[in-house]
């Protein structure tokens, strides 16, 4: 199918990270994938060998996608042969984000993110003031 030309005079991108794509020019197929396990702890303590994706189903479960089986006959008329942009400012591209100047055929992006927060137990007990010891004592007496 006939595609238009993209004309950008000036573009400014500061940060490209985590499987992001910044592409100038035409492409056919793009398939970025990201898996993020974000762990936040009350104080800094990180073991070196943590984070095996296979223990969390969110990283392996299939994502349902719509099935396109209708026969749609698409006709495009381009009145001008170019898309013109004077200036673009992008601060950051992250987590399978794509910035594309030019035409493409298929884009299939996927990102899976899991957040885990860990708080220290002693602190939580003080905050909630939950009488854990009393409950245990009652159980023993019964």
């Amino acid at each position: 199918m006939y595609k238009r030309t993209s004309v950008v005079k000036n573009i400014d991108v500061i940060n490209v990270s985590n499987n992001s794509v910044f592409e100038i020019g035409d492409s056919r197929f793009m398939k970025p994938r990201t898996k993020v396990l974000a762990v936040q702890r009350e104080y800094e303590l990180f073991y070196g060998d943590e984070g095996n994706f296979k223990y969390y189903p969110i990283f392996t479960d299939p994502i349902p996608k719509p099935v396109v089986d209708e026969s749609v006959h698409v006709v495009k008329y381009n009145q001008t042969s170019a898309i013109k942009v004077n200036n673009i400012d992008i601060t950051t591209l992250s987590g399978s984000g794509i910035s594309h100047i030019g035409s493409t055929k298929t884009i299939d992006a996927e990102s899976r993110i899991k957040h885990i927060r860990q708080l220290e137990g002693r602190m939580a007990n003080n905050l909630t003031n939950f009488p854990l010891t009393n409950v245990n004592n009652n159980k023993e007496s019964l």
Binding site: R4, V8, D26, T34, L37, V39, R41, L45, D49, E50, G51, N52, F53, Y55, I58, I63, K65, S71, V72, H73, V75, K76, Y77, Q79, T80, I83, K84, V85, N87, I88, D89, I90, T91, T92, L93, S94, G95, S96, G97, I98, S99, H100, I101, S103, T104, K105, T106, I107, D108, A109, E110, S111, I113, K114, H115, I116, Q118, L119, E120, G121
Partner: protein, 79 residues
């Protein structure tokens, strides 16, 4: 008798559906933009200056209540 008629109807409907064709006409007029300012493109998002035939973006984000762990700092999913 009724079921036969229904079957016939269903068959004819299926036939019509397979022969169904949708025509979709797009007229792209002139696009001219001066300035674009974006702070972030993240988690399977795209910013495209151009044409595309098919785009499929999916993102899964999980912060359930049980992801808040209160207790000693045990290592998570050690390999």
């Amino acid at each position: 008798m009724c079921t036969k008629r229904m079957k016939n109807f269903l068959n004819s409907y299926r036939e019509r559906r397979t022969n169904l064709n949708m025509n979709f006409t797009v007229v792209n007029k002139q696009v001219c933009v001066d300035n674009i300012r974006i702070l972030g493109v993240s988690s399977s998002s795209i910013f495209l200056v151009g044409d595309a035939d098919s785009i499929s973006l999916s993102s899964v984000f999980d912060t359930p209540p049980e992801s808040l762990i209160i207790g000693p700092f045990v290592p998570l999913a050690r390999s």
